[in-house]
Structures are given as C-alpha cells and as structure tokens.
C-alpha cells in the first residue's frame, strides 16, 4: 500500500522523465513485437518449405517388383528416412500429364514412356538440413539399382542460412532494445531517487529496512515497463487488425501481447534495480 502509493507519486513527480522512459519502452517493445511476428511468419514459411524437401531416387528402367521391394526396405532402414514411396513409370507419366495438361500436344508426341521408375523419399524432421539430406542422398545413390539422386540442392542450404541469420538478428534486436530500455529506465529512476533524497533520509532515520526503502523505486520501474508494454501491445494489435484486411498472417495474439507486457515489466525491474543499486547504497554503512 505504502509502496504502491510512493511509486505512483514518484511517477507523477518526474512526469517528463517517466513519460520519456515509457515512450522508449513502448517504441522498443513495439519494434521487438513487429520483429517477432515477422520472424514467426518467416519461420512458418520455412517450416512448410522444409517439409517439402524430398529426395527423388531414379531407378534403372528394367527393375522388377521384388527388387523394388527389397530396395525400398533397405532405404527405409537408412537413419533419417521417414518414408519411401514407389513411383512407377506409369505413375510418373500420369503426374507429368497432370502437370502439363494445358499443353497436351507435347506429350502426345511421345511414343514410348521415357520416364524412369523412382522412389520419393521424405526425411525426418531432425534431418531436414543441408548436410543430413546430402548424406542421406549419397547413401541412397550407392545402391546399384539407383541411377540418379535429386533433391532441392540449391535451396536447402539457403533456407538453412536464412533461418540462422533471422535468429541471430532477432537476438541482436532484442539485446539492443533491452539495453536501451534498461538504461533509460535506470536513468529515470535515478531522478526519482534524487528527488526523494529527503524522504529516503527520513526512512533510514526511523528504521525502515533497505528493502522497504527500495521497493517503491523498483515498483515504479516495473509500472513504467508495464505501461510501455501495454501500449505497445495495444498498438501492435491495432496494426494487426488494420493490416489483416490486406494480408493474412499468423499472429499469436495471447503470447505476443502478454509477452510484451511481461517483458516490459522485466526490463523495468532490471532498470530500476540497477538504479537503486547504484544510487541508493547510502551512508557509510
């Protein structure tokens, strides 16, 4: 009760500084929120793209069904292979016909079926990266019935890299805005500490504990973070509502909104604790 009242008085007394502090917090958290959403959605796209990464193993033309069965069993045993689907010559042709149905003349010109039978191989989630896929493809290519192996060679490593860069960028942005928010909050709380020097002196004199003396300042920082976080969450939600008319994307609203408020409170807490530690270690004792 006392702590809350003093914290609110502190906020009001240093109105301008508090406002700046809340403003910086708001801007930082908004930026972080936007970044998180962009990342979320790019991750989503990448996930879908990655799940489509397949290995095609083209087989010798005259392979018989027992050999197919045997080979299928062998490939399924390779570590990281999720599923193996046999595509016969006829099926392959049908698929091509399906894809090229707008240009039927091209296929009618064919007299014999030139397509080889093949296996379509999917890999398990944990092996969905450039190195593992290339390893698996190499192993498959070693069977003598396999003529050729193809997979999304070019874009698998690129996807990989993109995920990593995105992740690093997120961490970097998160780090920078955290430092900025903590610094500004710390500075605002420092001003409050200075403006309440007399009150602190009296508290010491009458036997208030260190914890009691510090609590209002800490709370003040947390409230600043909470307000900054709430405003940024509200703004982000508004932006989502507006933009969702034009583009549809994934917006995990509960996590994002609660996350921003909580993160703001955490930054406010760290900032004010830092200020109190630096400027409130009073006296000789």
């Amino acid at each position: 009760m006392f702590v809350l009242r003093e914290a609110l008085i502190g906020l009001k007394r240093n109105g301008t500084a508090s406002m700046i502090s809340i403003g910086v917090m708001f801007f930082s958290l908004l930026l972080l929120g936007i970044f998180l959403i962009v990342t979320f959605n790019l991750f989503g796209v990448i996930k879908i793209a990655q799940s489509k990464v397949e290995i095609d193993a083209f087989l010798v033309d005259d392979i018989d069904s027992t050999a197919v069965k045997e080979l299928k069993g062998k490939i399924e045993k390779i570590v990281g292979v999720k599923s193996v689907e046999f595509i016969s010559k006829e099926q392959a042709l049908k698929e091509i016909q399906e894809e090229l149905k707008d240009v039927p003349d091209l296929l009618e010109a064919l007299e014999t079926n030139p397509l080889p039978p093949s296996f379509r191989i999917k890999v398990e989630e944990g092996y969905n990266n450039a190195r593992d896929i290339s390893d698996i493809a190499k192993k498959i290519g070693m069977f003598k019935e396999v003529e050729d192996v193809k997979y999304g060679r070019e874009w698998v490593p690129r996807l990989d890299k993109l995920v990593k860069i995105l992740f690093l960028f997120d961490i970097l942005v998160g780090f920078i805005i955290s430092i900025a928010s903590i610094y500004v909050t710390s500075n605002t709380i420092r001003l409050t500490v200075i403006s309440r020097k007399e009150s602190i002196e009296i508290m010491r004199l009458v036997g208030a504990t260190d914890r009691m003396i510090r609590a209002p300042f800490i709370l003040e920082g947390i409230i600043q973070g909470m307000i900054g976080g709430a405003i940024s969450a509200g703004t982000l939600y508004g932006l989502y509502i507006l933009s969702s008319r034009f583009v549809s994307y994934y917006f995990p609203q509960n996590y994002i909104l609660a996350g921003l408020v909580l993160f703001g409170m955490l930054l406010g807490y760290i900032g004010s604790r830092n200020a109190v530690k630096t400027y409130l270690t009073g006296g000789e004792i």
């Binding site: 009760m1 006392f2 007399e198 009150s199 002196e201 009296i202 508290m203 010491r204 004199l205 009458v206 036997g207 208030a208 504990t209 260190d210 009691m212 003396i213 006296g283 000789e284 004792i285």
Partner: protein, 223 residues
C-alpha cells in the same frame, strides 16, 4: 544502555572529529552535550544511532556493538531511537499527521494501529490541533514538535536531539526544552547537543563538554 569506549572518528586524514572519547549514559538520563561549533557533538550523536561507525574504539547501544552489528540490524536498532535535528527534516508534501504516520508506515506497522499511535503522539507534544497543516504553515517551534512526535511515536528508549532549538526563537526554544524535560520524566533518556549554553541554566542536568573532539568536562549525573 549506551557505552562509548575510547572512540575516535577521522573523516579526513589526520583530522580527528572525535579523539579517544569515552562516555556512559544510563537509562532515563538527561544529558546536555555542549561545545563550540565543530567540536564533534553531531558526530557523537551519529555514532549513537549508528549512522557512522567509529574508526577506533567501540560504541554499544542497547546491546548492539558497533564492531559486530550487521547491516540489517541497524533499522531494528533505529526503531528504538528517536532523533531530531535543527532543520526538523519534515516532508514538505505531507501534512503533520502524514509526517508522523510516515515513520510507522515505512516500518511496517499495521494500518489500524497507525491512527491511534499518531494521534497519541501528536497529543503528547501538544500539536493535535494542527494535524492537517503542512510544514510551511507552521512556526519553527511547531515544526520541531511535529518532528518530536515522529521521533516518539515508536516509544524509543532514548531521544537524541541535535541542536533542536537552533532554528527557533527564544520563546519557542524554552517551550521545546520544557517538552524534552517532560518526555524525560516519563522515562525516556534524552541526549541534547547544543552550543547555546544559556539554555542549560533553565534545567540543570548532567553536562558533557566537548572541545576539538575531546571530552573536556563531565559533570556526572545530577539529580
């Protein structure tokens, strides 16, 4: 109750604010600490409420020794010591009632007890009628009464007064001194530092005289 044993305090190199001071103050005593400005009176009082620790020697207050007291024990000790100053140290944005209540709030007194204790303390110093006034609306003497009420609200065993009449006119000063006497007769020890030697004649009690950081005279307990 208070024992100061061979205490020295050095703020700056080779400059002793106090030098080898020994002093014993018993329960319920009234002691004047006199001496010219800069003699070391405030330093002595600060050592008693452990605002500072001695560089040499030992200060023992209510069983706590300056050599062994822990940081978190100091607030506990302070709750049993009342301190008042020349400049009152009242909070300007709080009224009389709130200033006294503040001392209880920040030490975790239950809300329902605060009102009762504050009103009693204000009545004891005779300032109840001004409980809604702000410090700037009060005379120096009245402000000092408020600060005394704040010091007494926890019923300390000792009241330390550092030049309590320094900013008050002679009439008001006598009134404050009367109040301190009254508080003392109810059992609270009072240690009053002052350089206004004329005040002592109104109330002959034990006088400890300090000059340049040394005790030069101690009359001992007077009835």
């Amino acid at each position: 109750m208070i024992e100061i044993k061979n205490v020295s305090k050095v703020f700056q190199k080779n400059w002793y604010a106090l030098r080898d001071v020994s002093l014993k103050i018993e329960k319920g005593e009234f002691v004047f600490i006199i001496g010219p400005s800069g003699a070391g009176k405030s330093t002595l009082l600060r050592l008693i409420y452990m605002d500072i620790l001695p560089d040499m020697g030992e200060v023992i207050v209510a069983g706590y020794s300056s050599n062994t007291i822990r940081r978190h024990e100091i607030p506990i000790l302070r709750r049993k010591i009342g301190v008042i100053f020349q400049d009152f140290k009242l909070l300007k944005d709080k009224n009389v009632y709130e200033n006294v209540a503040f001392a209880l709030e920040v030490t975790g007194t239950p809300r329902r007890k605060i009102k009762e204790l504050v009103l009693k303390a204000l009545a004891d110093v005779g300032i109840s009628h001004k409980r809604n006034a702000f410090p700037y609306q009060l005379s120096g003497g009245e402000q000092q009464k408020v600060s005394i009420a704040r010091a007494l609200v926890r019923e300390p065993f000792i009241l330390l007064a550092d030049e309590p009449t320094g900013n008050i006119d002679p009439e008001g000063s006598k009134e404050i001194l009367e109040l301190l006497k009254e508080i003392n007769t109810k059992g609270t020890a009072v240690v009053m530092a002052t350089h206004q030697v004329d005040l002592i004649k109104y109330f002959p009690r034990r006088v400890v005289k300090i000059e340049e950081g040394r005790i030069v005279e101690d009359t001992g307990v007077r009835p």
